[in-house]
């Protein structure tokens, strides 16, 4: 039994690196898989970019002016309960297939973590620091730019990181909306075979883990040094708040 499992994984690894002819005559695996990966990442980054553009300023502004905490929290709570696949299908049903249609669905799913984290990040900035800054004569905009944003940066980036990993996961549903991503071998395995399905799963999982690890490292790097140091002067391992919510539960 172990032998068969190992051989299955062996075939999958082979699929990742070597292209071959599918049953229908098309080329699959190897380089073609790379194409799928590219589309997958394209979709992810587009969705994240748009979502960030929309959610970050909004969340930061809400946090800065301490407004609508109820809204920020409700958005996050509702977002958690809605199945990502439901949104994808809904947009497919309403808008039909297509890159931008699916992107729109992904943008919607990516917004809540970025919005919530931007809100919490800006809002949780030590009010004494903000007070001191205002007292020194900084305008609202300067306070935001020089005090709040740098201090909120780790949390803001954390929200983006959560969304990136989520969207990498949700983008596997792309084929349901007509966009051929790494999800294709998983959802439509007939052309790719079992090895293809397993191979694509491995690549998706790897992408997600690499994104998480890589972005966590960046998050640590951009944390202002002052936040990392303890009074003794020795840096401590920064612990980030538990991602309180995970929108678009990964597919």
């Amino acid at each position: 039994m172990l032998a068969s499992i190992l051989s299955d994984f062996g075939d999958a690894i082979d699929f990742i690196f070597v292209s071959r002819e599918s049953r229908g005559g098309a080329e699959v695996g190897g380089g073609q898989l790379l194409e799928l990966t590219k589309t997958h990442l394209e979709l992810t980054f587009t969705a994240i970019a748009i979502a960030t553009l929309v959610a970050l300023p909004l969340g930061a502004w809400l946090g800065h002016s301490r407004r609508a905490s109820f809204l920020a929290i409700t958005v996050s709570n509702i977002g958690r309960a809605v199945p990502s696949i439901g949104i994808v299908f809904l947009f497919f049903a309403i808008l039909g297939a297509g890159f931008w249609n699916i992107t729109l669905a992904l943008v919607l799913l990516a917004i809540p973590p970025i919005l919530t984290n931007a809100y919490v990040g800006v809002r949780e900035v030590d009010p004494e620091s903000v007070d001191a800054a205002r007292g020194m004569g900084m305008s609202g905009w300067q306070v935001a730019r020089r005090v709040e944003l740098p201090l909120a940066l780790p949390l803001i980036f954390g929200g983006i990181k959560i969304s990136v990993v989520n969207i990498i996961a949700t983008a596997t549903l792309g084929p349901e909306g007509g966009v051929v991503t790494l999800g294709d071998p998983i959802i439509n395995p007939s052309t790719y075979g079992d090895a293809g399905r397993l191979g694509a799963s491995i690549v998706v999982a790897a992408l997600a883990v690499v994104a998480e690890v890589g972005l966590s490292a960046v998050q640590r790097a951009i944390t202002p040094r002052g936040l990392k140091l303890t009074p003794a002067g020795a840096p401590r391992r920064v612990r980030f708040p538990v991602p309180k919510r995970r929108v678009a539960p990964q597919p």
Binding site: S4, I5, D8, F9, N77, I78, R80, A81, V82, P83, S84, I85, G86, I87, F89, L90, F92, A93, I94, L95, V165, I168, A169, T172, L173, E176, G183, I186, I187, D194, R197, L198, A200, S201, I202, V204, A205, A208, V209, E212, V242, K244, R245, R246, A248, P249, Q250, P251
Partner: protein, 236 residues
């Protein structure tokens, strides 16, 4: 976009024959009522997946947390491992497990359980770490053994954090379980996918997911109020 088919039909409340509504892919309440029984089995399949996965995940994480509470060196490794399990997309996880456990409920449950481990572990640890140090000192000084201290003082005081983690785990698992049908485990995802172009179906199946999440969330909230009467008591 929803309005277009509605406008074409001349409004929501005029001549609502089910066939026309369905043919135009609108939002059809009558169809929903007529076909509601189609969703009952998937609903309970879905519920079962959620409850089993969450329960299993909780038990495993709880055991890990109790161990790590006394042996701090475990915290790092356990967090890393559960973190990776959390990061792996469930859809991919279903098929990574396929060679081992095949299609069906087992695969779905394993993947869903793995996802909850980090949430539970972190929240239980945070709860235990948040117990006031003086309560611990007083407890030890009065003669509690470490095990008695854990069960009679530390865990009860960690309950709010633990239950908060439970709420998060439950609501996210409801959403995730919608994908279980890809692994052959049924659930509301199956209903979603069976007529994925029909808006009424998508909204109904998706809506039922949200309803399930809200119900379970409320259940935990009620349990929290019942189990932690002291958290509401305020200074006279």
């Amino acid at each position: 976009m929803l309005l277009l088919p509605l406008a074409q039909n001349g409004g929501f409340f005029r001549d609502r024959s089910a066939d026309t509504c369905v043919a135009d892919n609108g939002v059809c309440p009558k169809w929903a009522i007529d076909h509601f029984d189609r969703y009952v089995d998937p609903f309970f399949e879905h519920l079962q997946l959620v409850v089993v996965s969450v329960a299993l995940g909780f038990v495993i994480s709880f055991a890990l947390a109790v161990l790590a509470h006394r042996r701090r060196w475990l915290v790092g490794p356990v967090t890393q491992i559960t973190g990776i399990l959390y990061t792996i997309p469930s859809l991919a996880a279903f098929f990574l497990l396929l060679p081992l456990t095949g299609r069906g409920q087992t695969t779905a449950i394993i993947a869903l359980t793995a996802y909850t481990l980090l949430i539970f572990f972190r929240n239980i640890m945070a709860g235990l770490d948040g117990v006031p140090e003086e309560a611990r000192d007083a407890g030890r000084g009065m003669g509690f053994t470490p095990r008695q201290l854990l069960w009679r003082v530390e865990l009860p005081l960690a309950l709010p954090a633990i239950l908060a983690g439970l709420r998060i785990a439950v609501t996210t698992t409801v959403g995730l379980a919608a994908l279980a049908f890809y692994a052959g485990a049924g659930g509301l995802g199956e209903s979603l996918a069976s007529q994925k172009q029909f808006k009424t179906n998508v909204l109904l199946a998706g809506g039922l997911c949200v309803v399930m999440a809200v119900m379970l969330d409320l259940l935990v909230l009620v349990a929290q109020r019942l189990l932690t009467p002291w958290s509401r008591a305020r200074t006279v």
